[in-house]
Symmetry: C2
């Protein structure tokens, strides 16, 4: 019962910005955005709330750093020097982000707000760059680069965000409701809408039952890629 080595509980390493951000991501993953608290964080790090402020300016900066860490990891997944076609590269980057948001649902809201062209510290430039590079490789003329790239980026983030929201809602129905059950409930809910107000949703409802998220996501990417090539036919 000596004083030392009593409850070491991992505290060999000193506090650092990196360890704080990592713990923040773990908390966000485990308990959502509400789970990230300076008190919970300091408990997990075996320190006091004030200590964190020595390494991080405030909670907003902490959220930004967590977002950046996760997105950077997602974009680094696929090797930069792949010999695939630009189309396949775009699909890979898109799927990487899709999966990252799927694993870390809190990312969706974070990216929706943070996705401004402005701050260089933000994560946007990285995303724009990795998609834009492939758009250029696609042979799109310079005048079309920005439009094509932002259409892809917006679609990716929007679709991935909706998917994360769906996952959250499926979980809210019950702890063990799987994707199929959830889609089934969506389908029946849509079928029961007023036919005058919602003719389209009612017509499309049955298809929800055979809906596959990733497949659907990739179909959207393919559609936009079709638009890009149609708008800028390759000059072969």
């Amino acid at each position: 019962m000596a004083t030392r080595t009593r409850r070491p509980e991992r505290r060999e390493e000193p506090l650092s910005r990196g360890r704080i951000v990592q713990a923040a991501v773990e908390l966000l993953d485990a308990a959502g955005e509400g789970g990230l608290t300076f008190r919970a964080l300091s408990e997990r790090l075996a320190t006091g709330p004030g200590a964190i402020y020595w390494h991080v300016a405030n909670k907003s900066e902490l959220l930004d750093a967590a977002t950046e860490a996760v997105v950077a990891a997602a974009l680094a997944m696929e090797p930069a020097e792949s010999r695939d076609s630009p189309q396949e590269e775009i699909r890979a980057v898109a799927l990487g982000l899709f999966d990252a948001i799927d694993e870390h649902p809190w990312l969706a809201k974070q990216l929706a707000t943070q996705l401004s062209l402005g701050p260089t510290r933000s994560v946007t430039p990285r995303i724009f760059e990795s998609i834009g590079r492939q758009v250029r490789a696609l042979g799109v003329p310079e005048a079309g680069w920005f439009t094509a790239t932002s259409a892809l980026v917006h679609y990716v983030l929007g679709a991935a965000g909706q998917n994360a929201a769906n996952a959250a809602n499926a979980g809210a129905l019950g702890p063990d409701v799987d994707r199929a059950e959830f889609l089934d409930s969506v389908s029946t809910a849509w079928e029961e809408l007023d036919p005058d107000d919602y003719p389209f949703l009612r017509a499309v409802a049955p298809r929800m039952r055979e809906h596959d998220d990733r497949e659907q996501f990739l179909a959207g990417i393919a559609l936009i890629l079709t638009g890009i090539t149609a708008a800028h036919p390759p000059t072969t």
Copy 2:
């Protein structure tokens, strides 16, 4: 100095869910998401914090209701029976949402989270319906309805959200920084990025100076519409 008629401060009408939601929207518009507080709200409504809970379950439901009110107004802007082409209808709906998010920047984050197919009480079905109807009118075969519609919806929400974030960042630079100055600062920031890490952003940076948000937004819509028609050529 009688007790009655002292500080009437508009309190003829009784509290109601509608008045609460309206006041919530005003607070959100004026001070952003942080500005919506049950205390600020009850002060504005000349009542106590507890009174609000008689009409609204909690803050999350209040945010949902505020979102629904604003989106419903935006979608109702353009008349349902317009004789324009489906393309123009889609542009109108898209611009309506774009402008709504521009006027109420807090909408972006809200829609990113709330945009789940699931809850019928949410605002998603309305958006999906009004775009999907036009996709159908476009002559897209049924198998392509869902992909085309969700590509459009995701692009609209993603692009509008980014635009709102840009506006917020421009405001953060200074109270009176206008769009042009902001884009100029983005452009120079991108030009100063590492040429090895960010070749695309550097190449695209000069174009930021002549960037027009709405025009750019519509160009993206046009690109996706091109993709839709190319993927499903009209059977004339």
